[in-house]
Amino acid sequence: MESAVDQPQPLAPGSESPPSGEQRSVWQLPWAQVAEKWTLPALFVVMVAIFAVTASGFWTGENIRVVIGTQAPLVILSVAAMMPLVVGQFDLSVAAIAGTAGIAMVTTITRFHAPLGVGILVALVISGLIGLFNGAMVSFVNLNAFIVTLGVSTVLQGVVQGYTGGSVLAGTNIGALETSLSGNVGGIPKGVFWFLPVALVMWYLIEETPFGRHLRSIGANNGAARLLGIPTRGLTLSTFVMSGVLGGLAGIALVAQSGSADPSVTLGTDLLPALAAAFLGASAFFPGLFNVAGTVLAIFFVAFLVDGLQYLGAQPWTSPVIDGAVLVGAVTASSLLRRDRVRQ
């Protein structure tokens, strides 16, 4: 136990603080807290090391680059899903928004012969508006986010299905986008140039600005945040808008990756892995808090796990099994850890 605990010193007011010889950094925290912060990164390293030794073909530059590069859309989608989680809200519509954005972009370009830039802009604006609707319903009409976003998601599925008749829209004329996600630049997979800027910007917003701190406060105690004059409604709304725009960006990335817009993206196959990563990520770096670095790490944790197992002969169906298990496992672990740390 630290000395500060052994000798509580309620000082008389006005007396100066005693000279402090105990500037604590992260490294002097009780070991349990440090261990919690670094468990997932450590597991990640151990896992990769094990596969590197046991699965031949896993530890090659090509394979590593492919795994990293192909995760770009999912990383962006996962950060999108994470934003409302920071303020304690769910957004189940991110995958549907991604699918809608892809269809909207390809339609704008191929049917209305608009340039690529306009197509991207249209997709992002539509995504942002859907997010705005979600956010307005949740924060100003006080509806349950679960219900609203699930409803919106289902509506989008129907509209996209109706418009496309279920068939994939080929992404002719998407020009530069077509090659933007395949291959490498200077040995770095191009996918990195998609997700890294997104992750850095959102990390900065959440961890390094008062705005992000306010979002965290709302997530920790909405009523308290309101009493302290934090504009809880507006900020909650903003997370849904960010979630919508990023979801749209993930949709554009998916089009870039496959060269076409697939209406089945709206069905939400990618929703669970995205949410799973956000929850698993909340167990790393800032235990108990949703954070971008943890989320990105979690995506690659799962991706390398699936990849390594498939090198060892696992079937493709193991992938959803791992996604589901990760989600439940991450939530269980963080709940058990917290029980030990927090007074009940």
Binding site: Q23, H214, S217, I230
Partner: protein, 524 residues
């Protein structure tokens, strides 16, 4: 005390660790039959943890045991594996501070929810039989009310007693159980406290063993037979109360003499910082108030008198129906918390959980919502943490570090963090609802001194408190509210507990509608 003088409950070697913090360290003591036994200790002394262990909600470290004597038979049990059911079987009955009473339901229903419903064919509830049963139980405990009354019509103290009745209704003999009361009077008006304490005394005389946890030492001196003191998780003493005074108890709890801070005189010429005219918000209807630089004004009144509404109305957390508020001569926009804060108004509501961010660190809580101060293109966490450490030292918070999450601290220490953060911001107007509720005597004196020091430098404070001793210690002027209006003012030498209590009683009698006769409480 017609019970044999044997032990009703013995506790052996109870320890508990929360991560690196040792909340309880090898605590042993015993309770005698038919006695009111007060469990005393500061914040973080381990009282709450011990209670939770006895309730089977928190697991003790292996080795802790209890022994009970039930019906002349001695029963022993380990505490590391105790479940809530097991605790009940050992005869522990708990009534907590936040009484889980359902105000919309009748007394009968509230009692049945703690026991069972009498059921007929197809699972129908047999109401007549149920009411009869409830009436019998109420009578047994000396509560003279109709069981069909909805609970919200009961005065607060009667609700607490109802919770006690509910906990004890199923026992055949008073010696079967140990009644554990966790801060039962914390939210009660002063007048009701005396009534509740006399009810407890009557229960004890019938042979009921009672373990009483309370921060209000005057009540302990009034009610307790025996006391046990915990400090820093360790057992300090168990002994009969004897002739000990509140000051003696305070010294035992803190481990050093506790200074009493007297009121400071304020020059009547000091400039007016806070000017309130005709404020109507929530339960407050037309309140005028002038508070001068350096002044601490107390607002007292029974629950519902509008005392808390005045604070919320000034701060903007409640919409204003009418009236104006001026801070240092300029008008304050109504119903807008951010403006109020930017003008230096700080508010601490009665329920601290309303303003704390549990999962976030002490440092973050201290800087919230003004984290902008630490923003230099990035958040300067070093500076934020340093401010958190300063707060921890200045207010004697027991926390392993400024990085510890707020909810890893004990309740009283969480409160010190939140009060400390408000005071450290050097507010122009400090609005505090129950500044020391649930805080130990040592911290209480500290918080009082800090409030006084804060207003002596800058600004003023308005304090709502149901603890009259606190009001006398702290306030330069006391305003008594009833029915949403200020009815009297006391200043300087006039401020005594007796005078305040008398004015409150008069005020409330004139302002409140009469209660139905069936609810009139008998004082035993």
């Amino acid at each position: 005390m017609n019970q044999p003088p044997d032990e009703a409950l013995e506790i052996f070697g109870v320890s508990k660790n929360y991560g690196p913090t040792r909340a309880l360290d090898d605590v042993s003591f015993s309770l005698r039959h038919g006695r009111i036994h007060a469990l005393l200790g500061g914040n973080g002394s381990g009282k709450s943890t011990l209670i939770k262990i006895l309730a089977g909600v928190v697991r003790a470290e292996p080795g802790g045991r209890v022994a009970r004597t039930i019906g002349g038979r001695r029963v022993e049990a380990g505490l590391s594996g105790l479940t809530p059911g097991g605790s009940r079987d050992l005869g522990f009955r708990f009534v907590h501070q936040d009484v889980p009473i359902f105000p919309g339901l009748s007394i009968t229903e509230n009692l049945a929810l703690g026991s069972k419903f009498e059921r007929g064919a197809v699972g129908r509830i047999r109401w007549r039989r149920q009411h009869t049963r409830a009436r019998r139980v109420l009578k047994q405990f000396g509560l003279d009310v109709s069981p069909r009354e909805p609970v919200y019509r009961l005065p607060p103290a009667a609700r607490t007693l109802l919770a006690i009745v509910r906990a004890l209704q199923d026992q055949a003999d008073p010696s079967d159980s140990v009644l554990v009361l966790d801060e039962p009077t914390a939210t009660l008006p002063r007048g009701d406290v005396a009534w509740l304490l006399s009810s407890l005394r009557r229960l004890a005389e019938q042979g009921q063993t009672i373990l009483l946890v309370s921060h209000r030492l005057d009540e302990v001196c009034q009610a307790a037979d025996d006391i046990t003191v915990l400090r820093d998780g360790k057992h300090v003493a168990t002994m009969p109360l004897g002739t000990r005074t509140t000051a003696d108890l305070a010294e035992l709890i803190v481990g050093r003499p506790v200074p009493r801070v007297g009121s400071s005189g304020v020059a009547a010429q000091a400039p007016v910082v806070l000017e309130v005219r005709g404020l109507a918000a929530g339960a407050a209807g037309g309140v005028d108030l002038d508070v001068r630089q350096g002044e601490i004004v107390g607002l007292v009144g029974i629950t519902g008198s509008g005392r808390s509404s005045v604070l919320r109305g000034i701060y903007g957390a409640l919409p204003r129906r009418a009236g104006t508020v001026l801070i240092e001569g300029t008008e304050l926009r109504a119903g807008h918390v951010r403006t109020a804060r930017s003008r230096g108004v700080r508010f601490l509501p009665e329920e601290r959980r309303l303003i704390g961010f549990g999962g976030m660190s002490v440092a973050m809580n201290a800087s919230s919502p003004d984290a902008g101060r630490y923003w230099r293109g990035y958040l300067d966490r070093r500076a934020e943490r340093r401010a958190g450490q300063d707060l921890i030292r200045q207010f004697g918070v027991r926390a392993p570090s400024a990085d510890a999450p707020l909810n890893s601290l004990s309740g009283g220490n969480q409160q010190k963090v939140l009060v400390g953060a408000a005071i450290r911001s050097e507010p122009a107007v400090l609005l505090i609802d129950e500044p020391t509720q649930g805080v130990d005597v040592g911290a209480r004196a500290d918080i009082h001194a800090h409030i006084k020091q804060a207003v002596s430098r800058r600004g003023c404070a308005v304090v709502v408190s149901s603890d009259l001793e606190e009001v006398v210690d702290l306030c330069d002027r006391v305003l008594i509210l009833a029915g949403g209006r200020i009815v009297t003012q006391l200043a300087g030498e006039e401020i005594t507990e007796l005078a305040i209590a008398r004015q409150m009683e008069q005020g409330s009698r004139s302002a409140l509608p009469d209660l139905p006769d069936s609810l009139a409480m008998r004082i035993g």
